[in-house]
Symmetry: C2
Subunit: 216 residues, 2 copies
Amino acid sequence: MVRDDFHERLAALDASLVSMARTVTEMMGRASRALLTSDPELARQIVATDAQVNQLRNTVDDQVAELMLLQQPMARDLRFMLAAIRITGDLERMGDLAKHIAKIALLRAPASAVPSEAAPLFTSLSEVAVRIATKMTQILSTRDQLDATQLSLDDDEMDALHKKVFAKLFSDWPYGVEAAVDFTLLGRFYERYADHAVNIAHQVVYLVTGDVQLRD
Amino acid sequence: MVRDDFHERLAALDASLVSMARTVTEMMGRASRALLTSDPELARQIVATDAQVNQLRNTVDDQVAELMLLQQPMARDLRFMLAAIRITGDLERMGDLAKHIAKIALLRAPASAVPSEAAPLFTSLSEVAVRIATKMTQILSTRDQLDATQLSLDDDEMDALHKKVFAKLFSDWPYGVEAAVDFTLLGRFYERYADHAVNIAHQVVYLVTGDVQLRD
């Protein structure tokens, strides 16, 4: 394989990652809407999209394996490929988490899984999650290290919202145990979704600099 | 680098994976004991071990990157290295999940996070989780495909126990919302821990056969 062809294929791999990132960002916005409007049709669409994301992950991982076999990569290309393998794993989980939110919406529809009093909190969780995922998608395109590092500020906002979920649960919760279980899991799904986006930003720092960010 | 040296380093990588797997298996047994006996000292030890696991993950990932740079790997070796990158990710999360269980124990000690009536259920969750992780560790050593495929049977058992957690929560739960939140999260942590072990078994099938198992 000539070097130019190799770099074309690297660029195609990059484009696949960005496209997967866009999909899981969209999924989160739609899953949140399905949750807040108790829309079973929308929720079902997200479950279907998640199956596509899983398939896409395998396709992208195969692209990486093929590229590695075809040509001994240089250090920078190799870092990108190793990062790509980790990134597809995180993106796949983000799709799963959006699907989990959609499934809770589906399970409770036509009722709402979120008490109306808590709708503003979940609107915020959704907005922050989508904002973080949108920035992450951008960072995958631009590989801007500073933006990647600053994504943890948005994640702090997510952690603060996640604490509010527990604060609401622990201060005289009048909605019963079933709603508390949904509320607990939903809060966790949003928080994990954001964590994966931050992991991806760390991988971008790694592929640019070779530095590994230690995880919690 | 001569080929023999390369294979020695591959074997060392393999040994690191098995040792990481043993550590996260042990962590789960200890975290469960900390939970069921409300032992804050034991819980603190697990939090400390998790930091070591995170560090170890980075060391092993660096070993993979170095090996790839030093020598163009053959197809089978390459598959092993790609699998290794995914496996360290799953092992790291298993460590995190054991830590999360320990942290709930720590948060509620000297009280118990698990109502005594539910202790047998959590003893079963722990036994199945440790059994699955022990088998996974063995599969990493032996690379036995049949054992790897059969691990999903043990995971079915875990799913059945996880359903029992919800059944208990939804049938007249008398312990209040805080205990329900702990219970929900603990159930999820055990279930996710087992899922990661099954992912690792799938990676072993991939590295032996090149076949990818589609995830949920």
